[in-house]
Point group: C2
Chain length 300, copies 2
Amino acid sequence: MSFTQRLEETAAAVEAHLGTLVGRGMGPDVPGRLGAAMRHAVLGGGKRIRPFLVVETARLFGVPAESALDTAAAIECVHCYSLVHDDLPSMDNDTLRRGRPTVWTAFDEWTAILAGDALLTLAFDILARPSTHHDPAVRAALILAVAQASGAAGMVGGQVVDLEADKLGQPPAPTLDHIRKLQAMKTGALLRVSCEAGAILSGASAADRDSIRRYGEAIGVAFQIADDLLDAEGDAATVGKAVGKDAAAGKATLVSLMGIDAARARLAAVEADAIARLTPFGTRADTLVEAARFIARRTS
Amino acid sequence: MSFTQRLEETAAAVEAHLGTLVGRGMGPDVPGRLGAAMRHAVLGGGKRIRPFLVVETARLFGVPAESALDTAAAIECVHCYSLVHDDLPSMDNDTLRRGRPTVWTAFDEWTAILAGDALLTLAFDILARPSTHHDPAVRAALILAVAQASGAAGMVGGQVVDLEADKLGQPPAPTLDHIRKLQAMKTGALLRVSCEAGAILSGASAADRDSIRRYGEAIGVAFQIADDLLDAEGDAATVGKAVGKDAAAGKATLVSLMGIDAARARLAAVEADAIARLTPFGTRADTLVEAARFIARRTS
C-alpha cells in the first residue's frame, strides 16, 4: 500500500469512528443543535494528520490501528475544537474552512463556543473510557499528556501569544526565538503529543517514547515552516486556501524573518532530524519516515 | 466547629490551593495575560459549594480534606470556566460577577474564551496527575464522571437548551418537565458529580456511591429552586445580585410555572429527600445534612 493510500485509509476509518463518537455515541440527551454543530466541526474532511500519527506510532510498537482509533479520534476532537474557537469573530474572524462555512457562520457565535467546549470535554471523556485502553494507568497518562499539550502552556497559550501580536501589537519586534516558541506551543504541541500518544498506548519504553517525542517535535516544526512557505509562495488553487495572508497582514513569520532560501534549508534540516530520530526502529518506521517527508514537502 | 465555619475553612483552603494550581503550578510557559485572566476567573470568592461537597463526601468515607483538595479545585475550575463563557457578550452578556468585572470586561472577548478553554483543560490535567490519587483507576473514573457531567449531555448541553429558549425562542411553551431537565443538566450535573467525586476518591462501595449520587441529584434540584425563589422574591441587597431578572425577561422558571407556594413546598420535599439519602451513614453524615439545609434555605 502506498503512503497516500494508507493516509486515506486511516482518514476514512477516523471519519467513520468520529461519526459514531460524535453521533449516537453521545446518547439521547445531547440537544440537537449542539450535536449538529459538533458534527459540523469534526466531520467532512481534512487530511487527519494527527490521528494518522497516533495510529502509525501505535502500530510501530505493535498496537493495531483499530485499538488506536479512540485515542486518534479524541486528539482530532481537540484539534477541531481549537479550529472552531480560532475561527470566531473575536479571534481570526474566519467564515470559511475547507470550503465550508465555519461553525459560527453556519450556526452562531454562542453555539460555536459551546460546541467547541463540548468537543474538548468529549476528548477527555473518550480518553477516560475503558474501551480506549484496558489499563487505567495508560488512560491517565494519555489524558495528562494531551491536557498539558493543549492547555495554557501548550496550544491555548500559543494562540494567546499569537493573538497578542495580532490584536495588541505585542511584542514590538518579534524575533525568530519568539516565533519558534509560539509555533511550538500553538501547533507543535498537539502534533508532538499525537506521536507520543501511540507510544503511551503501546507501553513503549521510556527511551522509545523519548525518540518518538523528539520525532514529533521535529515534524511539528517542519509542519509550520512548510505552512509559512506555502503562504509565502504557494498557489491559492493548489493550497486550497487564501495565500499571502501573513504578508498582507504584516505578520512576522519564520519566512519573513529568515527569507525563503534559509527557511527552505531549515525545513530540510528539520526533516532530516525527524527521520534521524527513527533510526532505532529500522525499517519498521518506514511509514513514519514517509510521514515526515509528506509533512515537510506538502503542497497543500 | 459550626457548619458556617467549616464552609469558610474549606473555601479558604480551596482558594489557597487554586492560587498555587492556577499560579506557579502552571509553570513558566503560560503567557502572562492568559495566566492573569485565568486567575481573575477562579480567585477571589464565592462560597465554593462544589469543592465543599467534594471535600465533605470524601471525608464521609474516611479521606482527609487535604487529599481531596486537588479534585475539589479541578471541579471548581470547570465551574469557573463555565461562568467565564456564560458571561460572554454572545451568551448572557454580563459585565459584573460577584461585584467584579467579568473576565471579558476586564480583558476582552478572545482572552475570556481562551482563559475558559485553558481552565477546562487544566481541570483534566489536575485530575490526571498522580498527586490527585495514587491509583490511576480512581483518576480515570474521576475524569470520566466529571467529563460526562460537564459535556454535551450535561452542563454544556443545559446551557445550549437555556440559550435556545432565550435567543431563538424555543421551545414555544416550556413545561415543568422541560425546565427540570434543563436545570438538571445545566447546574445539577456538576453539583451531583461534586458529591460523587468524594465517593470515587475514597473507593466507596457501589451502593454508597449510589446513595451519594442521589443525594447530589436532590441538592442540585434544591439549589435551582432556591435560586428561582431568590430571584422571584429576594432582596437585591441580601442576594448580592440583581433580582427579578427572570420575570423581567419573561423567562419561564419553576416558580413562574408552579407559583411560589408550590415551589416552596417542592423545595422542602427535595431537601427532605436529599437528607433521607444520607440515612445509611448515620451521624457521620451530619455535615452533609447541614449542607442540604444550607443549599435549600440560603438567602444569597
